[in-house]
């Protein structure tokens, strides 16, 4: 057994026992010293319909400025590394993630990453659920991994992702791509809105005040991340909340 594999098994044993996200963060930062990466991220990819990528990251240990910019600008959608995750189940170097020369966004992401010291990297896709998947990505100004170190990081990533996903699910935080929870009343108001009723008409049907209907519709819009009533109804239909 090599040194890298021995290290990986030890890290895995500790990751399995992690009881908080901060345990994973600490373990994975320490592993960076052994394998030569500076930073890492554990993330899901956004589903097609998701309006924001902000909820995708499970454990983002990236330079703060880069993390902020990356998620505010939804780089997760144009990053060639993230896009390659959708096409493969095998680990790859960032330099192996293809993009066409006319994809200005893709080139920009790779370019801007270097400003934050992320010039080279390695990514492990994780796809055990249906949906766009996710993965663990390791970055550094210079990353030199032997085949054995890659296999070791592959193993570590499987467990780091799994533990993070489990802790977040058990912690009751709304998983990124679960349908938002709407109340029965909010759904009722949305149904009547979808049927073409004004909020006054809906309030008459539901024997309540117009203000209450509007209150429910506003809450529904907030939960569905919609800016107006039309988008709210469309979003609710697309997510199957109303038929």
């Amino acid at each position: 057994m090599t040194q890298d594999s021995q290290k990986a098994f030890e890290i895995v044993a500790r990751l399995k026992e992690a009881s908080k996200i901060s345990d994973i963060l600490r373990e994975m930062r320490a592993a960076g010293a052994s394998f030569g990466y500076d930073v890492f991220i554990i993330t899901n990819l956004p589903a097609e319909h998701e309006t924001s990528t902000q909820n995708c990251a499970l454990v983002p240990s990236w330079p703060e400025g880069w993390r902020k910019r990356y998620f505010e600008r939804d780089y997760l959608r144009i990053d060639p590394v993230a896009n390659h995750v959708k096409r493969t189940t095998e680990p790859f170097l960032w330099s192996e993630a293809p993009y066409r020369s006319d994809e200005a966004g893709a080139a920009r992401v790779m370019d801007e990453a270097t400003e934050f010291g992320l010039s080279q990297g390695f990514c492990v896709p994780i796809h055990h659920l249906t949906g766009p998947g996710g993965g663990v990505s390791f970055g550094a100004s210079r990353l030199d991994l032997s085949e054995d170190a890659k296999a070791a990081l592959h193993l570590v990533s499987i467990y780091a992702y799994q533990r993070a996903e489990t802790l977040i699910r058990e912690g009751g935080r709304v998983p990124a791509r679960k349908a938002p929870r709407l109340t029965a009343r909010e759904i009722e108001c949305l149904r009547w809105t979808a049927a073409g009723k004004t909020s006054w008409e809906a309030s008459e049907i539901l024997s309540t005040s117009q203000r209450t209907v509007e209150f429910h519709l506003r809450n529904a819009a907030r939960k569905l991340d919609a800016v107006n009533r039309v988008q709210c109804v469309a979003e609710a239909m697309r997510q199957g909340i109303i038929a």
């Binding site: 057994m1 594999s5 990986a8 098994f9 895995v12 189940t89 095998e90 680990p91 994780i126 796809h127 055990h128 659920l129 249906t130 949906g131 054995d148 296999a151 070791a152 592959h154 193993l155 499987i158 992702y161 799994q162 996903e165 489990t166």
Partner: protein, 220 residues
């Protein structure tokens, strides 16, 4: 429905066993190109099919749509005979309460599930594996598989120990694991596949498909 064949009932189910071997040939040889397993008669049978082996077959309309095989580790099995190099951490666990999960597969036409859910045939086999392990008092199962399924096993409530690092085999990763059965494995498997609303021994309502199994049904 998942049907379980073992030494006790296999003699009475020759027709089903025949369907199983043909299903395996169609899936693993003709579809997944496991050329070493190709046979002129279209029945995929290897040296491990025989006494002690447990077959799990998901049937739809009398046809096999998903399948798995459990091999006793008290006899030669794939990890000892075919993939010993995957167990880099040293000798893998074996014994009367440890089986090896092999030949896990679903007919491609049945893989298209509802969005966000894995298809019922695959779900049936995964839940059946956990239920059979529990019903027979097993400690766990060995498996050699793509790392993706390692995550799935963990999500299904198995306590998964790596037996080695992922290794490249014909362009794909493969690794050996020992998946320990826990008190939660059956429940977590059902939850993972979206079947948490259906407790096992509750009276079945028509809307809930009897995905699994049952050994009890079959032995009766």
């Amino acid at each position: 429905m998942v049907v379980v064949l073992d030494d006790d009932n296999i003699a009475r189910h020759g027709d089903l066993l025949e369907k199983i071997y043909r299903f395996r040939h169609r899936l693993f040889v003709e579809r997944l190109n496991w050329e070493a397993c190709r046979r002129p008669d279209g029945r995929e049978i290897d040296q491990f099919d025989g006494p002690g082996c447990i077959h799990l077959a998901h049937l739809e309309g009398g046809e096999v749509t998903a399948y798995s095989r459990l091999l006793p580790t008290t006899r030669p099995h794939l990890l000892t005979e075919v993939y010993p190099h995957l167990a880099q951490r040293g000798p893998a666990p074996r014994g009367a309460t440890i089986y090896e999960w092999t030949r896990c597969g679903t007919l491609p036409a049945r893989r298209e599930g509802r969005t966000g859910h894995i298809d019922p045939a695959t779900a049936g086999i995964f839940i059946a594996a956990a239920e059979v392990a529990r019903a027979r008092g097993l400690d766990g199962l060995l498996a050699q598989t793509h790392p993706i399924l390692v995550n799935r096993l963990m999500s299904c409530g198995w306590d998964v120990e790596p037996l080695g690092l992922p290794t490249q085999y014909q362009g794909h990763s493969i690794m050996a694991v020992y998946a320990r059965l826990t008190l939660d494995t059956v429940v977590e498997s059902r939850r993972f596949f979206g079947l948490d609303a259906a407790p096992l021994h509750a009276p079945r309502t028509p809307s809930i498909r009897p995905h699994v199994a049952a050994e009890t049904r079959l032995r009766a």
